[in-house]
Symmetry: C2
Subunit: 348 residues, 2 copies
């Protein structure tokens, strides 16, 4: 399933290069996006979009559904590129982040890091614009499905993602500026991950298939707890994961002072000595690997690590229970059960 | 004419706030965009779009045309917000730039400047997304005009703007890193201003009105030299203008080391002593007003200032000559002549 989406994306990017043959700079940008797609990614949003269609219809998904699925992946590239700038991340999918790759094109310049960041802002803008362009260059769908139907959900998804990222930004940083806070962390998760990664993509496919309000609500009851579990797992992988599998550094979340449920729970339960370790480490841009080890020890010793694992299991069960009560095609329900299992146990 | 566009934009922003009543952060963003609209702006792109329609049709522009015009203005807000981040500009339309306003919300935090920049990246992303949303929430145009017709030109406009901004970025900076270069400056102008500000908005309106390839080409022959004149005037106002009228600092272009035709011409003609002044000043982030005065003297003494004025007059004449050969409604041709005069003599 992801292969069909990748083919669509590569074809689209090649077409953009072809159309603007007098703009070599555009080819540079398009190739960077191609490389990011080729470097990996779980394609969870396109897959959920297609499963959403399958929840309603036993027909093969028509071209319009694949196009929305591919659009979601291109939107996701935009979000990753801008997030990596904001988080000052150095690696993504095991490769240097877009701003670092763009900076590396100007080795002789003192201002190369800034140049790389500014060029990556533009690259993200381009991916965002193209995610909508991809919906419009389509010839009319032979099944008569109108892509304009997708628009209200795409608008909600974009707004929620951007607001979620703002919540994330404001609650990150050193403890003195932004004390760890589980309520704020849960709110950011809701918008930035649960709705963006799970609920909206699934609803988009189902809506294109003609789902009524009951099914859309049932899919939401599955997707929101699953999305929360997804992010809680992400937070654990962000500090306890294997970088060679996740493609991300295990220092970034600490250095950024990311306000995770994990860090906030540890801070709540910490002894004064443990709290000091967290205060020294969260938002510390020059944190060393040895200091990060100490931080991980505190996350474990306070029981925060275990508490988050428990939360993940609970959210997983809630998601499965929602499926028990939903009326949808059994093949789609089975696929959603399998995806839930994969999401909560993933190591990448 | 601009008032109709502003009303549409305010209604749209209010509707977004209303729809997401559980997201106070969204209201913050929408109000910042409202404030930027209220603070000023020439609305040149929406006006050209409407005149493009009038070049073809003697009917009142239908709602679809106003909507595309408003979309262009919202897109422009996006471009300004991200450009101001890249240029590290402090004022825009006489007010603090978006990243400074967003930073000012966190007075107690050491990381407020970075937080402001990151939040403004998101604000720009939101404006970009909304510029397309604005086209989709419309009820079907009673005249049967399909907004999807606008899409290929909107896509070209976006790509050209982003590539033009990249060309601008790469050619800016201290003389040692990015020597002033008139060829590169002219290429950046073509994409970032001539096509984005003049050619594409005018063609959009005309295309919606049903213009054929001859008229679209004639409008391009008018708009490209006019757009070049617009940017050359902008570059002069950027260093010689009255900040209380332009709303911009007269230090920003120097500090950024912007590769303008003005600076590049002066550098080509400079004596060794004059070249030293330019080298010390271009890209110098801590340039003082006194040093900026010296720079202005060099721009005048080398004859670069006069040379750019001559170029503006030539481009103005080219634009008018293109109108003489074009077949379009005379009211529209008269409006375009008046706009050309306003563009080249403007002081804001």
């Amino acid at each position: 399933m992801p292969a069909a989406v990748e083919t669509l994306l590569y074809e689209f990017l090649d077409e953009q290069i072809h159309q603007a043959s007098d703009l070599p700079e555009l080819a540079l940008f398009a190739h960077l996006l191609r490389d990011m797609i080729a470097a990996g990614g779980k394609r969870i949003r396109p897959v959920l979009c297609v499963v959403g269609w399958q929840a309603v219809s036993d027909r093969e998904p028509p071209p319009a559904v694949w196009r929305v699925a591919a659009s979601l992946e291109l939107f996701h590239l935009f979000a990753l590129i801008h997030d990596d700038i904001m988080d000052a991340s150095e690696t993504r999918r095991g490769e240097p982040t877009a701003h670092r790759r763009l900076a590396a094109r100007h080795p002789g310049r003192d201002d190369a890091p800034t140049l790389g960041i500014n060029a990556a802002i533009l690259l993200g803008d381009l991916a965002l614009g193209w995610s909508y362009e991809l919906l419009h260059i389509a010839s009319p769908d032979p099944t008569g499905l109108h892509l304009n139907r997708a628009w209200p959900l795409l608008n909600a998804l974009r707004t929620e993602t951007l607001v979620g990222q703002y919540l994330d930004l404001v609650s990150a940083g050193p403890v003195s500026a932004a004390p760890p806070d589980t309520v704020a962390a849960r709110r950011a998760i809701r918008y930035k991950t649960a709705k963006y990664t799970c609920e909206r993509p699934l609803q988009l496919g189902a809506h294109l298939g003609g789902a009524g309000p009951h099914l859309l609500a049932a899919l939401s009851s599955y997707a929101l707890p699953l999305g929360e579990a997804f992010q809680l797992r992400d937070d654990l992988l962000g500090v306890f994961g294997a970088p060679e599998r996740t493609g991300k550094s295990v220092l970034d979340d600490f250095r950024e002072g990311k306000n995770t449920v994990l860090a906030a729970t540890a801070y709540q339960r910490a002894t004064p000595a443990q709290a000091r370790v967290l205060r020294d480490g969260l938002g510390n841009r020059s944190l060393t690997p040895a200091e990060a080890s100490q931080m991980r020890q505190v996350l474990t010793d306070t029981g925060a690590h275990t508490a988050v694992e428990t939360l993940i299991s609970q959210r997983h069960e809630q998601a499965l229970a929602a499926l028990d009560h939903a009326v949808m095609r059994p093949e789609a329900a089975a696929a959603l059960r399998a995806m839930a299992a994969a999401v909560v146990t993933r190591t990448t």
